[in-house]
């Protein structure tokens, strides 16, 4: 398990459960309330040749009397990654916006996302274990949300062209010859098959009618 980690979290009174779990699992846990403090401590740890191995950070940090340089979790993550590229990052937040979470994984390269809420300490522990074993981790609801991005059925330009040609009475062979960029007969067939499943159509005629209903063509 990790030996030295750091947390950035401005909610003071709370998350005692998380705190005690962390103390149980990791020998050295440094708490900070400001991103700036977290960053500077991480920088100092590097100077002492004993860098932090993981960072657990919130995304939102409320404004108070102190002037801040780094104001959000994302900025902190980016800054920290710059100086310790292989540090493990766990985000611990109330965030539910899929765009923001997806971006955290895709662009900020975080390793785990734990949503605040029920059983949060349990999930923090699981996340630490997963991240330590070089895996990523998400709390179930968030995982489901992320997965649903791929559950959306997308149709492309070519699909729309095929439907359009079909509605104009072209045969599948003619479609494969007319399409630019050209497309083999078998892949035209395959595409029509997929569209039928997608729109729940039994035959080409019904497919066209459904596509028209739905405003696709």
């Amino acid at each position: 398990m990790f030996k030295k980690i750091i947390t950035a979290e401005d909610q003071d009174t709370t998350h005692r459960g998380v705190e005690s779990i962390l103390k149980e699992v990791v020998p050295s846990v440094q708490k900070t309330k400001y991103c700036d403090d977290a960053f500077i401590k991480i920088k100092a740890s590097l100077q002492e040749n004993a860098p932090y191995e993981a960072l657990i950070t919130d995304l939102q940090f409320e404004e108070d009397h102190r002037d801040r340089e780094i104001t959000s979790g994302e900025e902190l993550i980016a800054a920290v990654k710059k100086i310790i590229p292989d540090i493990k990052i766990i985000v611990f937040s109330v965030e539910k916006g899929i765009g923001r979470i997806k971006k955290l994984f895709d662009e900020y390269g975080i390793h785990a996302f734990v949503a605040k809420g029920r059983d949060e300490s349990l999930h923090i522990k699981k996340a630490l274990e997963a991240v330590y074993a070089k895996k990523s981790y998400c709390t179930p609801k968030i995982k489901q949300l992320l997965r649903s991005v791929d559950d959306i059925d997308e149709i492309g330009e070519e699909d729309i062209k095929i439907l359009d040609f079909l509605s104009k009475g072209l045969s599948q062979r003619q479609i494969s010859e007319t399409l630019t960029p050209s497309c083999s007969l078998s892949s035209v067939e395959k595409n029509i098959g997929r569209l039928k499943v997608l729109l729940n159509a039994r035959n080409p005629v019904q497919l066209i009618s459904l596509a028209k209903d739905r405003g696709i063509i």
Binding site: I40, E48, G117, V149, I152, D153, E154, I155, I216
Partner: protein
Amino acid sequence: MKHILVASLFLIISCKTVNDESSKDNTELYTQLQNIFNNDSISNVDMLSLTNSYFKKVKNTNRDTLLYRTLLLKTFLHSKEKELDSAIYYSNYFLDKAIEKRDTFYIAKAYLKLGKYNKDEKRLSESFDSYNNSFSFFRSIDSIEAGRALFEMSKIQKKIGDFSGSLETATDALKYSENTDDVKTILGLYQSIATVYREQENYEKAQKYIEKAITLSQSPLGIKKIVRKNLLTCEITQANIHKDQGDYSKATTIFNKLLSDSLVIENKKEKARIQSNLGYTLWLKDKENLKSEKLLQDALKERQKIEDINGLIASNIHLTQYYKGINNEKSLQYAQEALMKSKQVKSLYSIKESLGYIIDLKDNLIYEARLFKEIDNELTKLRRKTQDIYAITRFENDENQKEIQALEVDNVKEKLKKTISIITAIMIGLIGIFFTLFLVRKHKKEKTRVVIRETFQTERRLSKKIHDELANDMSDTLNYVDNHTEIPTTIKTHLVNKLDDIYDRTRDISAEIGGFESKDFAKNLKFLITQHRTKGVKVITNVMTGINWDIVSDHKKINIYRSLQELLVNMKKHSKATEVTVIFKSEENKNFINYMDNGIGVAIDDVPIRGLQNVETRIKNIGGNVTFITSKGNGFKARLYFLN
């Protein structure tokens, strides 16, 4: 020491005076001066006043060489008397005179002085710049001085933590010094290079250079010229390299050997230095040994007694490390002491190092964080500046050099200056005009942008507030209740479920109103759709390819995003739909978005839905239009149309 320095100054001067035309007159005065300096009973202050009277005499005459000499002595004495302001002032005066007469050797000499005095004044970038100038004049006339100037530059770079820069400069210095008999500089360079490699944790190379230094000191020329004290530094460095490599017994052996050296026994400063290093090494080897604490404390006390500030910084840092973990309060005290001393000598790098320990040991860091940042910035700035300064000199090729010399001879320099100032004036004028134009345009743009953004920002602010504050508080309350053992389970389960539901909805509000980026707009629209899709709802869309959003303005994107959001919120909340289609289409400069669901629909005439009115207003605002086709029980269709 004083006499050696003065004598060497005279030596340099006399070498250069051979060809002086008014040498007879000069020699006379020169002899007088020399006699005074050879007199032991005269104090620095008296010498200075004598030099001043000579200075007044020769100031307005044409006896250049004598003036240079007097100034060399005058500035030297000022610096001895710690009157650095005067030393710098007269070095500049000296420089001006030498430039006026185009006397390259003395120009270089004046720069060398400015480098030294500015360094004493902790004006590191000015010092570096002066040494650099000195080097560029010396490099074609005097290898020894050129090497020395570069050595000073590399020391400054090391001081500000630019180790690779320091290494580069020191290596260049070696090219000049290695072919001369200036073994002291060569030894210094070897030692300096070794410490830089040590900092970079390249111990093999560090070891190699320190061995080179020791071998040099044993060569015939080395034995003649290198004093024991210079070698001592090398030996301490060697022991420290062993220590860094983890070879503690080798390091300890060297330190112990040095402690019994007669030179060290007499020299309190060096003794304290070795003791502190030995104590630290023993501690690294065995954290519970009984000797370390005493050695470290003794060294500290000795250094306090002899007021060795740099030594005190090192001692305090050793003690910070020693007490860290055993007695953090004490450790912090030593770190703070180290910081204070570092500030006293204005050593940025030591300030940063001490701060690093304080930051690690202390909790409330408002002051330290700011200072750390400031120092870090300053160091970065200095590093960049010095790098820029030397990079130019380094790559000036010989031809360039010749050109400059030719220009000097032909007095074309003045012309060049004139041309440069004209060009500069034109440039400044042009930049001014462009800048004004830029500002005017920016202001105009800003104005429209502000109007568009205002509504958007209000929405964001509110949603952020809900999200950041309410959602966090909800999650806290939820956890509080969940972990509270006094609440009976029957009530708790219900309460927790209820709270969890509220918490989740708070998060939804924010996710719904939350922001988006116009940069990756198609992707953001896809996320928008995903966010509103409940489990089991089938969504068909060509959101990623239907419309090329790159050519649509941000203002339109915002309104499209919000409109689509209204439709999707309605779908999620009221429609009970199981199938949703969102199709995007472009024809020339016209864009369409067709939305359709199979939900329960609404009777538009019966209940005017505010959300839908919003959609209408928004789309009309961007010069498009929207039609809704719906009736109770027949799903919901919306067709949005707008121009690029």
